[in-house]
């Protein structure tokens, strides 16, 4: 699974990353949850409960955040757990900041 996650991770530019990173409410809730609790290691069902949703509702969003690299999945015993990748999150933030800096403003020039 770990290998699969690494293989499916894609390099996105800041703009695309920004658009995908919080494109849904569930992704926004997941980002808030993991920014406030970066050490959280839990199953998808438990994570979903923490943000007031069901596993089915957040499954696609979790997969997308895993693809971006901000979240990772690991197998602990018979359980698949979701963890936060702080370094990838920092990279994503840097990438978004670069995107923001590249935006031409109405006042420019």
């Amino acid at each position: 699974l770990e290998k699969e996650n690494l293989d499916t991770r894609t390099e996105l530019d800041g703009g695309s990353q920004a658009f995908r990173l919080f494109s849904t409410q569930a992704k926004g809730d997941l980002l808030i949850l993991y920014h406030l609790n970066p050490g959280l290691i839990d199953t998808i069902d438990a994570v979903a409960r923490r943000i007031g949703r069901t596993a089915k509702e957040i499954d696609e969003d979790v997969r997308d955040l895993v693809t971006i690299g901000v979240l990772r999945t690991r197998k602990i015993g018979s359980h698949e757990v979701i963890t936060f990748d702080k370094s990838k999150d920092d990279e994503a933030q840097e990438s978004i900041v670069s995107h923001l800096k590249s935006i031409k403003t109405g006042r420019a020039g």
Partner: protein
């Protein structure tokens, strides 16, 4: 509104992106102190930067603002969010709602003066030295 905006940016996107957004707003001629007054312009800058994802941010800000005033957010993700913020502002004025995290004028100006008639009924731990003559 500014505090909610700041909190959502920090918690959802992190400090670096938050600072990047403030920098972008500054370049667009919107100072931090003007975020509440120019919120429509702030939303259009966010739309320009993040496209449709900006709606997730604005929705979180609106929900946070309603929570701050202990008001129930009776709107969905797809309603006009800036309209909901204006509606809350009207409700705050008409119902005299106060935010949860702001000190009242009583707290800011020290202990309340004790009226002569109520002095005996007030527990001793609430009476400060300034009340004893």
């Amino acid at each position: 509104l500014r505090a909610c905006f700041d909190l959502v940016l920090k918690n959802m996107l992190g400090q670096k992106v938050g600072d990047g957004i403030y920098d972008l707003l500054d370049r667009e001629g919107i100072q931090r102190s003007e975020i509440s007054a120019k919120f429509d312009e702030v939303v259009s800058v966010l739309n320009k930067a993040f496209g449709t994802s900006a709606r997730v941010l604005v929705h979180k800000i609106a929900v946070g603002l309603y929570a701050e005033y202990s008001a129930w957010p009776k709107f969905t993700f797809y309603d006009s969010l800036t309209e909901q913020i204006v509606r809350l502002r009207d409700k705050v004025v008409s119902d005299r709602l106060t935010p949860r995290h702001t000190l009242t004028i009583d707290h800011q100006s020290g202990p309340k003066p004790v009226p002569e008639s109520n002095a005996k009924t007030i527990p001793s731990h609430e009476i400060s030295f300034t009340d004893i003559k």
